[in-house]
Symmetry: C2
Subunit: 264 residues, 2 copies
Amino acid sequence: MEKSFNNRLLDKCNQVNNRLCIGLDIDPDKLSDNISDLKSIEAFTKEIIDATIDFCPVYKPNFAFYERFGSKGFVLLENIVAYIGDRAITIADAKRGDIGNTSRHYADSIFNQFGFDSVTISPYMGSDAIVPFAEDETKGVFVLCLTSNSSAKDFQFITENDSQLYEVVSDKTNSLNKHNNLGLVVGATNKQQMEALREKNSLPWLIPGIGAQGGDLETSIKVGNHNGIGIVNVSRSVIYAGNGSIDEIHKSALNYTQQIRSFL
Amino acid sequence: MEKSFNNRLLDKCNQVNNRLCIGLDIDPDKLSDNISDLKSIEAFTKEIIDATIDFCPVYKPNFAFYERFGSKGFVLLENIVAYIGDRAITIADAKRGDIGNTSRHYADSIFNQFGFDSVTISPYMGSDAIVPFAEDETKGVFVLCLTSNSSAKDFQFITENDSQLYEVVSDKTNSLNKHNNLGLVVGATNKQQMEALREKNSLPWLIPGIGAQGGDLETSIKVGNHNGIGIVNVSRSVIYAGNGSIDEIHKSALNYTQQIRSFL
């Protein structure tokens, strides 16, 4: 029998004793002139993977950074996912969310066409946007819950009967987790909110907002890995370290890894 | 001075006296064996456009139906958008929604790389997910508000101080409409909800759920075009008419058009 996604994620993270996810979101405008065309971006991304895959269990490309190059960017994305292969867990940070019939096509695309292990989902349209992605127990779904961006408060804190929207999303995701393959996106936001949510939710957490966005690593690791597994995503502070120096990228990722291990 | 998106949309709809949007969501599994590979899907989609563009003001490809073919599907999408050109208004039904920095890359992709006139947005992350798409007044943004799928109720009806989430999204979108280029996605759902929302919101509405999904055309057109403009999206009942017979597709689109005109 094949393993559920959540067990695969846990095994991979335990194998390398790490909870780091590297966001492969290369913006050539932020790097030296040597990295500008798609060929050099592909070579650079592969170098980042080579320099970190011995200890990094999860990689997460955000689709925006590939789609901006049109169809050629999706060739790049296909190549990157294939390059990682089964050496690490991949998350398609695509924040999909549509009606059931359409979600099934997206799931087909992300899991079968691109070959990702998991995907991020925006829950506004309800369970129709989530369930079609979770039919294969070996593939995972991270549902946006409490995000760390400044306008998260616009809608996520709307409160009915003492429950805020993000808590309702957490409870709903819990109830839909029939195949042990659902998780949540919980931003590195304030400690009390994270702690209160963790008490009620033991699904895997993907925690963005560390590094350039200012989230606290210690809180994220300690709260995220209490009553469940929590992986922290770092993008800019790793991939732009030393303006694209692979040595500095390796050092930065290893530094995060050592901190994570000390907090576990 | 260039026209705002909302004025362009209104002008185009008035030019052909229509409020129809055709959803270009070709699923070859639903059609005859002649339409199966990407080349035949492209030819078929262009035939649909040719048969309807004299009277249809808006076309909306849903990204899932292109992305399922991987990078090659995005070449198809680029070709379709280029084929429509400035003969009609195009909506990228991509339901994007991400933090500000990422949203800017998506906007660049959808407006500059693919060449769309407008995009659909999922609002869960708040204004960060909307504003970066609205910087160019000639480009439009339709924000998911009240959707017509069965699980819309999971989150959209959460109520604080007598306002349901979808009403809060409507008000927020109103307040962000600085350049006359924001609109809402309001599904063809129950008449009372649509009427109450229309009283408070005069932005353009994109109304899905007509046809295969069972929504009422008369209600959608009458409510949607009171105190604003409302365009109805029809996909399956047009593009699969007569199992891909262009004659039947033309007839079906024209039939919707004649009904729409009678209700205006």
